[in-house]
């Protein structure tokens, strides 16, 4: 039985910044061993010194990541990944510029890989033109609607007023997806990958993003939700829905009042969340302990 690696889909139209995002991720994976499946090797810009092996459809990097070409189809690429599953933590797939990322997400699930999120990169300057294009307009709109989180990229090219208008426009088309604004596809790993969320990381994240950095607006907050006693499942589900209205991601463990001796793993990306049984637990464990990352309260 191969390990069920969590599976993230990066979607978005041609030129939105998907490749830059993946280049950033490959060079700054910070210990995460990711398999990145890309449409075009030629566009991926890996420092030659980082490459430790090149085997047809797969490039191995010194940091434990691998990069696989999708040129021979998803099945071949995922085959390469699953062969190395024991040495990997996560799979990230770049959807082609006209693919529906929601359909790519199903491809992962057919190999039993749990979906960790559909993130769609948006070109702040071009998106409205793209949505009006007679050939790809409806595809672009479907891409937006299928996103768990929208990564609004190239915001440096758009004025503050236009951004506000764009946010409203996007929210009408993808009402369920929180929006993360960025430039140069600079997106924190914790938004891309659920597995990166932990209490330790949350603390570090807060320091990093709350730091007085001229280049960064205050745009990401992280906090911990704790509850001592087991919680009624219905109450928790309402809480999860509330979290999903604002937060990019959340992760943690919860005990339900109905089954206090079982622990459940809670993972959430945008509005999508899952609960799975994580085994028996002792009475000493808290009722719920969640780490949530999202835009700063009161900010946008």
């Amino acid at each position: 039985m191969t390990r069920a690696l969590p599976f993230t889909v990066i979607g978005g139209y041609l030129g939105a910044g998907k490749t830059t995002l993946l280049n950033n991720l490959l060079s700054q994976a910070g210990g995460l061993r990711a398999a990145v499946l890309v449409n075009d090797f030629g566009e991926i810009n890996i420092d030659a010194e980082l490459i430790t092996g090149h085997d047809g459809d797969a490039i191995s990097l010194a940091n434990g990541c691998i990069c696989c070409s999708l040129s021979n189809g998803f099945a071949v690429a995922i085959g390469e990944v699953l062969k190395r599953a024991e040495r990997l933590d996560h799979v990230i797939v770049e959807a082609s510029g006209v693919a529906e990322p929601g359909k790519i997400a199903q491809y992962g699930q057919m190999y039993g890989l749990p979906l960790d999120g559909v993130l769609v990169v948006v070109d702040a300057e071009q998106i409205k033109t793209q949505a009006d294009n007679k050939y790809v307009g409806d595809t672009v709109l479907r891409q937006l609607a299928q996103a768990d989180v929208l990564l609004l990229n190239k915001r440096d090219l758009v004025s503050g007023e236009a951004i506000e208008d764009l946010r409203n426009w996007l929210t009408e088309r993808a009402p369920h997806a929180p929006i993360y604004e960025t430039s140069f596809s600079n997106v924190p790993l914790e938004i891309l990958i659920g597995g990166c969320i932990s209490e330790k990381l949350a603390a570090r994240l807060s320091r990093r993003f709350f730091a007085a950095d001229a280049d960064h607006d205050l745009k990401l907050d992280a906090w911990t939700l704790k509850r001592e006693r087991p919680i009624a499942r219905a109450v928790f589900e309402r809480l999860a829905d509330r979290i999903g209205k604002r937060a990019y991601r959340a992760k943690g463990f919860v005990r339900f009042a109905e089954t206090p001796t079982r622990l459940h793993l809670f993972q959430q990306v945008g509005r999508r969340w899952t609960l799975e049984d994580a085994g028996p637990c002792g009475a000493v464990e808290a009722g719920a302990r969640l780490v949530v990352i999202g835009p700063p309260v009161g900010g946008g």
């Binding site: 099945a75 071949v76 085959g79 359909k103 199903q106 057919m110 007679k134 050939y135 790809v136 409806d138």
Partner: protein
């Protein structure tokens, strides 16, 4: 099954001929022609005594044809042609049969043939033998016997579809298990998106009652239990298929004779490999180098594989991903031991029956995942299409673009206009399928020198479905051969093998009748004459692949690529066209298939 046994014998008989033929053919090229003292060549063979259709409008019928050294040396009245008779000339009396230029596969996928010859055909009539579950079992048993399948080996079949079964239910593992307890069996669905498995196959691929159905997939379960019943579709099937053992190179090469016989026995001597991946080009080259090809194969490398090909064949080239080395045009257009790269294949959309083609207006029915207002989607963004098309035109490489829906066609029109293409440049851009054109696009084809390769087989196989999905007006303009011809466009017609069977007579019949399975005429105004339908399999595809000087017609100097049919499609009642059979097929004068005399 008597029919099956006969057919098998026939293949073996034909095999002997063809193997002999390819050896003789190799010798034939070196052999000097016998000639008389004035230098005039004597014929190797003279055909007479039947109907000879030249496929040339000005002189459609002649009395006799003489061939020598693989070419046609004389055409015309019996007396004139007989003047080429020498001592060793073989006189072939057609005994009333019909001689034609052999057919050219205008578009299909040759590389499906090596696979298919190893699989059982469980398609419904007329694409296969099946009308019931019992027929499927019979076909599988015959296949296992033919290949002497050992216990534990896969038995794979193609073309399964419940709508063909008089039983009115899916075949299940319980139907298959008693007959095939020791062999995993897979009946691949006609859509290629699913299959029926028996118990041994379920065990082999690891699907059981405990397997969860993945999102977007289907695993039919036995009533009142979680046990899989047989059919698995979509996301539940695709990983299984991807993990099936792949035949090795030698194993594939060994099927090339039988693969070519699929064509030869249909009277086709130029086959198309119409979407070739880089590794398949390697395999085809190997087959060519080893002398395994006795029919011509025209390969269209896929545009996405062009960078890989450039890397392999032009290792010093320093350009970017969609740039082409200056010398690349020279790699196209010439045969090397019967293999030719003709141009590059672009695929702009999917299939109309799968609702993945790209239309400008929505379908009347929901999309493949139940979407409302569905009009399909392009496979590539227009920016990428424009870039690739511009690079290919600039590099002097012929473009073959798969476009089924009118929006995909619009994208190609835009790309060609952006590249400043005009008809007088004679680029012969072939728009493969051109199935759901709009009338206004015919003018654009004329302006840009686009040539459609139509697919009238759809009228029969999916015509009723198209009417349902698209409404009568759009469906009736499917593959508009009459309108295109009236505009002066040259159009071919194809099978898209193995999407539909390699049956030139059915291609002709569908172009002439446009009759659906349900008996509806799908666009009466687009029916063409038998002559036009024949040209779409001979002169027109020859022109599209730039071989009109050598192929597609019976005229002096052209290759002796010929077929003898047991009746004349021009004069039989229309529905009898489907009954016409090939008596013998010649590639450059050598017999590559001969019907066994019974």
């Amino acid at each position: 099954m008597a029919g099956g046994v006969n057919r098998r014998r026939l293949i073996i008989a034909a095999g002997g001929t063809a193997l002999g033929a390819s050896a003789a053919l190799a010798k034939g090229r070196k052999r000097k022609q016998a000639s008389n003292q004035t230098g005039k060549r004597f014929a190797d063979k003279i055909f007479h005594g039947g109907v000879i259709l030249t496929m040339i409008d000005e002189r459609p019928k002649v009395e006799a044809v003489a061939i020598a050294g693989g070419r046609i040396i004389a055409v015309g009245d019996e007396a004139a042609v007989m003047a080429t008779k020498g001592e060793k000339t073989q006189i072939v009396d057609l005994k009333g049969a019909t001689l034609l230029p052999s057919f050219i596969d205008a578009h299909g996928h040759f590389m499906n043939a090596p696979q298919i010859v190893k699989w059982a055909n469980v398609s419904g009539v007329p694409a296969g033998p099946v009308t019931s579950i019992a027929d499927i079992v019979k076909a599988l048993k015959a296949h296992a016997e033919k290949f002497k399948t050992k216990p534990g080996e896969w038995i794979i079949a193609y073309g399964y579809d419940v709508t063909n079964l008089s039983d009115k239910r899916q075949i299940t593992r319980d139907d298959l298990d008693p007959h095939f307890p020791d062999n995993p069996v897979m009946l691949i669905h006609s859509s290629n998106h699913g299959a029926v498995l028996n118990s041994a196959a379920f065990k082999k691929v690891g699907i059981s009652a405990a397997t969860k159905t993945p999102p977007g997939g289907l695993i039919l379960r036995k009533k009142g239990s979680e046990e899989p019943e047989g059919l698995v579709m979509e996301t539940a099937f695709l990983p299984i298929f991807a993990n099936m053992p792949k035949p090795g190179e030698e194993e594939l090469l060994d099927t090339f004779h039988e693969a070519q016989q699929i064509y030869a026995r249909a009277g086709v001597t130029t086959c198309q490999e119409g979407a070739t991946h880089a590794p398949e080009i390697k395999l085809l080259r190997k087959a060519a180098d080893q002398g395994r090809l006795y029919l011509d194969i025209v390969s269209l490398p896929l545009v996405l594989d062009v960078p890989a090909l450039v890397k392999e064949y032009f290792p010093d080239f320093q350009g970017g991903p969609m740039e082409l080395p200056k010398e690349s045009a020279a790699a196209f257009g010439k045969y090397h031991r019967r293999l030719k790269l003709a141009g590059v294949k672009l695929v702009l959309d999917g299939s109309p029956q799968g609702k993945t083609a790209f239309w400008s207006k929505p379908l009347l029915t929901p999309g493949p995942a139940g979407e409302a207002n569905w009009r399909g989607a392009p496979l590539f963004p227009p920016e990428q299409v424009n870039k690739a098309v511009a690079a290919l035109y600039k590099g002097g490489v012929q473009v073959f673009a798969h476009c089924n829906g009118d929006a995909a066609i619009d994208m190609m029109i835009d790309a060609a206009r952006a590249a400043a293409v005009k008809a007088d440049q004679d680029r012969r851009t072939v728009i493969i399928h051109s199935q759901f054109m709009r009338p206004d696009q015919l003018d654009a084809y004329k302006e840009l020198g686009f040539s459609p390769s139509f697919f009238t087989m759809h009228a029969f196989f999916w015509g009723d479905v198209h009417v349902e999905n698209l409404g009568q007006e759009r469906a009736f303009f499917l593959s508009p051969m009459a309108s295109a011809t009236a505009k002066g466009l040259r159009c071919s017609n194809h099978t898209d093998f193995s999407v539909t069977p390699m049956e030139p007579m059915r291609v002709i019949w569908t172009a002439v009748t446009r009759q659906s399975r349900a008996g509806k005429i799908i666009g009466p105004a687009e029916r063409v004459s038998v002559w036009q339908a024949l040209k779409a399999l001979t002169t027109e595809p020859a022109w599209q692949i730039r071989e009109e000087d050598h192929k597609g017609a019976i005229a002096e100097g052209k290759l002796a690529d010929l077929v003898i049919l047991d009746d004349n499609p021009m004069t039989v009642p229309t529905d009898k066209i489907l009954d016409i059979a090939v008596i013998e097929t010649f590639k450059e004068g050598e017999s590559v298939y001969k019907r066994k005399v019974t």
